[in-house]
Amino acid sequence: MTQAPILKARGLVKRYGRVTALDNADFDLYPGEILAVIGDNGAGKSSLIKALSGAVQVDEGSIELEGKPITFSSPLGARNAGIETVYQTLALSPALSIVDNMFVGREIRKPGFMGKYLKMLDKKAMEEFAREKLSELGLMTIQNINQAVETLSGGQRQGVSVARAAAFGSKVIILDEPTAALGVKESRKVLELIQDVRSRGIPIVLISHNMPHVFEVADRIHVHRLGRRLCVVNPDDYTMSDAVAFMTGAKEPPAEAMSAA
C-alpha cells in the first residue's frame, strides 16, 4: 500500500475502571477501501470506532485524519470533519419521526425571512430528501416518513440509521454491525449501498460478525483481539475459517499479516 492512510490511529488505550477496552490499538483506513473489522464479542471493536468517531475520549494514543492529528471532544466534531457513524445502538430518538431523526443536528431551514430570522424548518425539503434516501436503500416498506421511529421494526430502524450515515458522510463512513437485525433482502441492500458508497470514493469501516458478508465486500480485514489489532489480512489470501481462527486465538496469524498491521 503506497498511499497514506486517510484515518490512522496509534496506541489507543481506553479503560473503563478495571476493564481495558482498548489496549494499545492501532488502526489504518486507506482511501477508497472497505475495511472490515472483526473480532469476538467484547474484543473492543465498538470501543475502537467510538474512539475514532468522538463518542469516547481515549486515555492514550493519537488519531490522524488525512495526516493531521485530531482530537474529537464529541461525535459532532467527528461529524463536522466528515466522519459519519452508524452506532451499534443506532443512536435514534424513538419518539421522533424518521425525518427528524435523519436530520438531527443538520436540519434544513426555509429560505428567506422565515428561515433566516424565525429559524423555521423546511419540513417539505427534509421529507423529500429522506424519502429519496430511504428508497435508495430499498426501505420502501416504510409507509409514512413522519412515523415515529419507535413504531418501526428493528430492521427498519437500522435502515434509517444507515441511510442517515450514507446520505451525509463525506470522508469516512463507519458501520457498527449494520446488518445485524436486517433480513436477507435488506442486508443485500446495505451491502450494495456499501459498495455504492465506495464507488463514490468514500472509504468504509464495516464491523460485522457475518463472515460471508465480510469476505464478499472487504478489501482488507482488520482482526481485533483483546483490545488491540492482531493482524490485517487480505480476504483473497485466507479463508473464513482462517479468519475465525485468528480472531478466536485458535491459530497464530502469519508474521507478514502481523507486520502489515
Binding site: M120, E150, V184, K185, P212, D236
Partner: protein, 363 residues
C-alpha cells in the same frame, strides 16, 4: 455454509439469487380489524393532548348545565375570570414543560418567580430605579437562576430533582433575606413603578375582562409552540428528553442544549414574575407557595410525559385551565372545593397511566 475458496469471491450468496425478482411495491397493509383499544392507543400516541382537551371540554359542558351552576359558570365574566386565575400558573407551567420535556423537573420555578418579582419590586420601588432597569434586573435574576440550575445539571451531573430542590431553598432564603419578609405594597408600586403592574390592566369585552396577563400567557404558549415544533432547537429538546445518549451520538451538543433550555425556562419564569405583579397587585415574599407543584400538575394533566420527550406544549395550557375550571365550577355549584383537589389527584394518576400505555405502542 462452506467457506469462500481462496482467491475467488462470489457476489452474494446462492440463496439470494432470487432477490432480483422480488416484489418492489411499497408494502400496503389492509387496515381491517384493528381493535378499538388499539385504535385509541394509536390516536393518543399521535395526539397526547387529546385527553386533556376532552377533559376540559367535558368539564366546561358539565359546569355549564343549568342544574349544576344555575347559569353562573358559563358567563363571559366568569370564563375570563378563570383565565385570569390560571394565567400565572399557566406561564410557570410553560417553563416547567421545557424542563420536563428534557426528562428533568424543576422544583424551583415558584421560588425563582418570587425572587425575580422581589428584585423587580425592590429596585423599582425601594431603590427608585426606572421600571425598565428594575425589569432587566428581575429578568437577569430569573435567567441567572435557570443558568445556575442548568450548570449543576450539566457540569456537575446532578439530577435535576436534587439541584432544583436545593435551589428552591436557596432562592427562597435569599429573597426573604432581601425583603426581610416584608411585602411591597400596592400603593408604593402605583406611586413608584406602575409599569411593573401593566399585566393587571385589562380590556373589557362585554362583561369579559381580558387582562394583559392572560394575553401574555397565550403569547408565551404560542411562541414556545412555534419554537418547539418549527425550529431545530425544539426538535433537539425532544431528542434529548427522549434519549440523551442517542441525541449526543447523533451529533447534538446535549449539555450546551440543556443549558439553553434551563435559561429559556428562566426567561419564562421572569415573564411569570412580571405578570404576577400585575395579577396580585403587590409583591409578597410568601405568595405562590404552592406554585411549583401546581405547575407540575398542569404539565402532567396536560399530557406531557414526566419521563421526557413526549407531549405538546399546549397540553399544560389545557391542564392549567382544567384546574381553574374545576375550582370555579365546584365553587359556583356550591360544593366544597376539596372535591377539586380530589378530582385533580385522580386526573394526575390517570394522565400518567395513559402516558405509560401510549409508550407501549408498537409497529
Amino acid at each position: 455454509m462452506s467457506d469462500t475458496p481462496k482467491g475467488s469471491r462470489k457476489t452474494g450468496q446462492d440463496f439470494e439469487s432470487t432477490l432480483s425478482s422480488s416484489d418492489t411495491k411499497v408494502a400496503a397493509f389492509e387496515r381491517k380489524h384493528r381493535g378499538v383499544m388499539d385504535t385509541i392507543q394509536h390516536v393518543l400516541h399521535l395526539n397526547p393532548t387529546l385527553v386533556p382537551v376532552m377533559v376540559l371540554v367535558a368539564s366546561v359542558l358539565i359546569f355549564s348545565l343549568p342544574m349544576v351552576t344555575e347559569g353562573k359558570f358559563l358567563t363571559m365574566f366568569n370564563l375570563s375570570l378563570v383565565m385570569q386565575q390560571v394565567s400565572i400558573i399557566g406561564i410557570l407551567a410553560a417553563a416547567q414543560s421545557l424542563i420536563i420535556l428534557t426528562a428533568g423537573i424543576d422544583l424551583s420555578v415558584g421560588a425563582l418567580m418570587i425572587f425575580s418579582a422581589v428584585v423587580m419590586g425592590l429596585t423599582g420601588v425601594n431603590l427608585g430605579m426606572p421600571s425598565f432597569v428594575a425589569l432587566i434586573l428581575g429578568f437577569v435574576v430569573a435567567i441567572g437562576g435557570g443558568l445556575v440550575n442548568g450548570l449543576f445539571v450539566t457540569r456537575v451531573k446532578l439530577p435535576p430533582f436534587i439541584v432544583t430542590l436545593g435551589t428552591w431553598y436557596i432562592f427562597l432564603s435569599i429573597l426573604r433575606l432581601l425583603t426581610g419578609s416584608q411585602s411591597i405594597r400596592s400603593q408604593d408600586l402605583d406611586a413608584e413603578a406602575p409599569f411593573l403592574k401593566i399585566f393587571g390592566s385589562f380590556i373589557s369585552l362585554g362583561s369579559a375582562r381580558i387582562t394583559f396577563g392572560v394575553i401574555l400567557m397565550i403569547l408565551v404558549f404560542a411562541v414556545l409552540w412555534y419554537m418547539l415544533n418549527k425550529t431545530a432547537w425544539g426538535r433537539h429538546v425532544y431528542a434529548i428528553g427522549d434519549d440523551k445518549e442517542a441525541a449526543e451520538l447523533a451529533g447534538i451538543k446535549t449539555d450546551r442544549m440543556l443549558l439553553t433550555v434551563y435559561m429559556m425556562a428562566g426567561l419564562v419564569v421572569g415573564i411569570a414574575a412580571w405578570a404576577s405583579i400585575g395579577r396580585v397587585g403587590s409583591i409578597s415574599p410568601n405568595a405562590f407557595a404552592e406554585a411549583n407543584l401546581q405547575s407540575i400538575t398542569a404539565v402532567v394533566i396536560g399530557g406531557i410525559s414526566l419521563f421526557g420527550g413526549r407531549g405538546s406544549i399546549l397540553g399544560p395550557l389545557f391542564g392549567a385551565l382544567i384546574v381553574g375550571v374545576f375550582e370555579s365550577g365546584l365553587r359556583l355549584a356550591g360544593l366544597d372545593v376539596q372535591w377539586q383537589v380530589f378530582a385533580i389527584g385522580w386526573l394526575i394518576i390517570l394522565a400518567v397511566a395513559i402516558d405509560q400505555w401510549i409508550r407501549k405502542v408498537s409497529a
